[in-house]
Symmetry: D2
Amino acid sequence: MSKRVPYQLVSRSWKPEPTTFTVNGVEIGKELMMIAGPCAVENEEQIFTITEFLSKLNIKFLRGGAYKPRTSPYSFQGLKSEGLKLMRRAADKFGMAVVTEIMSIDKIDELVQYADILQVGTRNMQNYPLLRALGKINKPVLLKRGMSNTIEEWLLAAEYILSGGNSKIILCERGIRTFETATRNTLDISAVPIAKSLSHLPIIIDPSQGTGARDMIIPMSRAGIAAGADGLIIEVHNQPEEALSDGDQSLYLDQFQEMLDPLSKMANVLNKSFDFQAVVSPIENN
Amino acid sequence: MSKRVPYQLVSRSWKPEPTTFTVNGVEIGKELMMIAGPCAVENEEQIFTITEFLSKLNIKFLRGGAYKPRTSPYSFQGLKSEGLKLMRRAADKFGMAVVTEIMSIDKIDELVQYADILQVGTRNMQNYPLLRALGKINKPVLLKRGMSNTIEEWLLAAEYILSGGNSKIILCERGIRTFETATRNTLDISAVPIAKSLSHLPIIIDPSQGTGARDMIIPMSRAGIAAGADGLIIEVHNQPEEALSDGDQSLYLDQFQEMLDPLSKMANVLNKSFDFQAVVSPIENN
Amino acid sequence: MSKRVPYQLVSRSWKPEPTTFTVNGVEIGKELMMIAGPCAVENEEQIFTITEFLSKLNIKFLRGGAYKPRTSPYSFQGLKSEGLKLMRRAADKFGMAVVTEIMSIDKIDELVQYADILQVGTRNMQNYPLLRALGKINKPVLLKRGMSNTIEEWLLAAEYILSGGNSKIILCERGIRTFETATRNTLDISAVPIAKSLSHLPIIIDPSQGTGARDMIIPMSRAGIAAGADGLIIEVHNQPEEALSDGDQSLYLDQFQEMLDPLSKMANVLNKSFDFQAVVSPIENN
Amino acid sequence: MSKRVPYQLVSRSWKPEPTTFTVNGVEIGKELMMIAGPCAVENEEQIFTITEFLSKLNIKFLRGGAYKPRTSPYSFQGLKSEGLKLMRRAADKFGMAVVTEIMSIDKIDELVQYADILQVGTRNMQNYPLLRALGKINKPVLLKRGMSNTIEEWLLAAEYILSGGNSKIILCERGIRTFETATRNTLDISAVPIAKSLSHLPIIIDPSQGTGARDMIIPMSRAGIAAGADGLIIEVHNQPEEALSDGDQSLYLDQFQEMLDPLSKMANVLNKSFDFQAVVSPIENN
């Protein structure tokens, strides 16, 4: 990286101590956070089934797309307002916080009403008017790395939000675009220690989007935590083969449950802990 | 490219004949178009000087940024409304059409008032709410390729606009992101024949953004036309070394003038012509 | 590009005037050179048919693989010595020079005996023992750019040959590896003006390998010449659909012939000329 | 990855059980292996100091370059035969095995005499004559992934060696080339689970070459092991700031020692163990 540091508020030299803030009882940036849920909210039964399952594992953050950015205008675009409301009801019933994507300024008022964390997707990482607007809200922002953006550009995107007054930002590495064709993207685990060294912001990884392949989610989740990530965001579905989007990269519910115990043990070695840890064992004994 | 064709309206199999439409007397898609001007509108003297110069060369399209997407929030962000008004006045005085960038939905009304062609920049190529909104306006859209987007994704972005009802779209290749560090981007000339084979839309190239280096603009302009492009968009500045942005990739006025004659001759060999052709020679004789 | 210049003999600041040398009557680096022929020598009838056809168009350089580097050990690996001898006989009969690939030091003696120009392929661009050995021979070397090598690394590979004493080097851009999947590689036309500005060596382009698609060879050939290349290397086959390798990126004989006239006219505009020019017209009149 | 499987012997469908073989008492492919040592052998004192230190930590594999592939012909090219002999003497004295790079066929006889594992570097991954020759030797080959090669191409390179009769192959991911400039390469941790799923061969990672930055070696080593790698290869130097090559990406001796204990604990969680584990603690108590 060039020696010049074109960002300021986002940099660790400006603020040496890690940024932490609490959402739904989890001190993000200190405790590991686990965000799980379907790619998209599809209907009431789907979202309630998944949410109930996750809540029993003590997962605190529910992901789910209501407004979906799709490469083709003819693909399923999400349930929009209806999806938001379903997710909010499910989350409220089972004690979870809602993480969902914001695509344009004119939806901010609605999103702020239904979501606890607003996610900026890879295609909007350099949508500067949107970033500026998110600097003015009082909700945390999960800022995904653009799929071909340098870490410097990513931190500068966070600077847009920070300079507007909102310092509750979670960085999220979600895979970069390379020549490799064996995976949908190349999940750049090295972004974790780099971002940690340059910035005080928490950083999590997305092994579902980052690989596009169910079988790789578990090893890459472990790798991310081992590299120092502050959490994970994972796609889980009760019926992946019937999902309206991204079924191939969603874990089955039992796969998700089984990955938690070894992940917790690995986190322990690194002196970090996942909140779900204690809950998992009894379920395994069923 | 995969055999499946996920787009429809944009494809040549849907509409075999080339799309053409006329702006400021130029039949885009049939005649070669030349768009020139500064990276950003900076002040009245600058924009009027450049516009007058270009108009004497019979250039019909004036480019200039008023709302500028910048990687850092602390960089010059453009003169905004003031810049738009200056550009409009200059263009009107010298008989040119205005091409400028649109960054968010809430500025569409203003842009439509002052500009003749609205440009979607590389960072917003997958800003789908914006693309949908541009499908509803009655002005041509210049759609730049995202700097790491495949040609398929680019055509699908155009499909968002087309499916909204606006078929006046100009594709613009502006350089892709590669491992190479000798240039700011790698201008992908091969995008021209590929896009031409897959789509009926006109396609131009941007050798200024696409290379980031003044010395490469002329050879890459020739290469683009030779490969079959329908035009060029080029950064020109009366004082590049004092430009508020992108001075290193702007041509001096006399460089721009000198490039026109050989370019015209090359275009003739390919049975295409630039409108400025006739005007250049007398100026060279001064 | 970094300001430090880690190479010396290859640089234009060391030797400002272009390097030129004559092979088979063509002054390479001054006159445009055209190399054509099949991907691989397959049998006597094939290579003699193609060679005779090319010679009638006054093409002076015959390409053809005898030792083939193949990604799979189970693919056709070339006719080896037999292929070399066939190509030499065909070339001698029709007055052409032979260009063929060298893959390892232990074949240099054999290759020097049968070939006029030794080609280093993309996979061996950083095979330094081979480059050093080629610095000691008295034959020109055609040095292809590695498919993911920077221009600086490419010039340093040439420096290995030059520093051994052999200054007859032709650089060849043959496509780089990017995220794009519509083409096999992305032919980097911008490498031409960059290499020209940094080095005195001649540079040609390979639109067959560089695109992997027959339909793109003609527009990309034009683009390369327009950008200032010193020549082309093109795959031509009398029966592309039956070729043992790379049939999809080989021109039919009549396609090759038809491309020559407009290419010559374009070259004329740039004050360069192809030797084949005069010959083409009478053939067209048949 | 395409469904067609162009390789055979290397694939897990051909041989479902993992390949294991024993070198210097370590069952590679089953036990985790740790290879450590300097980028290049520089002199007797250097290599003996480092080797002694590593042997006290029970490290079983010594790396060190004798023949060095360097981008510039004017950079330090290694001590060659002298370096090989020094490394062999040091390894013999302290009970270690030698891992060093082979660059050309004509050095195989010499390398086989002095080394226990022959390494094929990133620049030679597609040097097929060399790979074929290594298929005929009776020593294990450590095959690094080319810095821009797909996993399919990498496995096909291994197929060249396997099809020659040598099945003792260790794959090594060493960083791929991307647009990111914050690191020298992007260490592709996802290559570990992909290669594991497609092939029975052991795979290790190189976090020194793969990142080019000392501070990233420890987190990326952990990530690699967490993702399922069979070992690590790490650059260690007694005086990194005076190293003749790659000092910036070499660990200090005490850094290397300190990384072992947490790495062992992490490996334990995954039911794997590093041989050095027991030895570390007493040294830490000194």
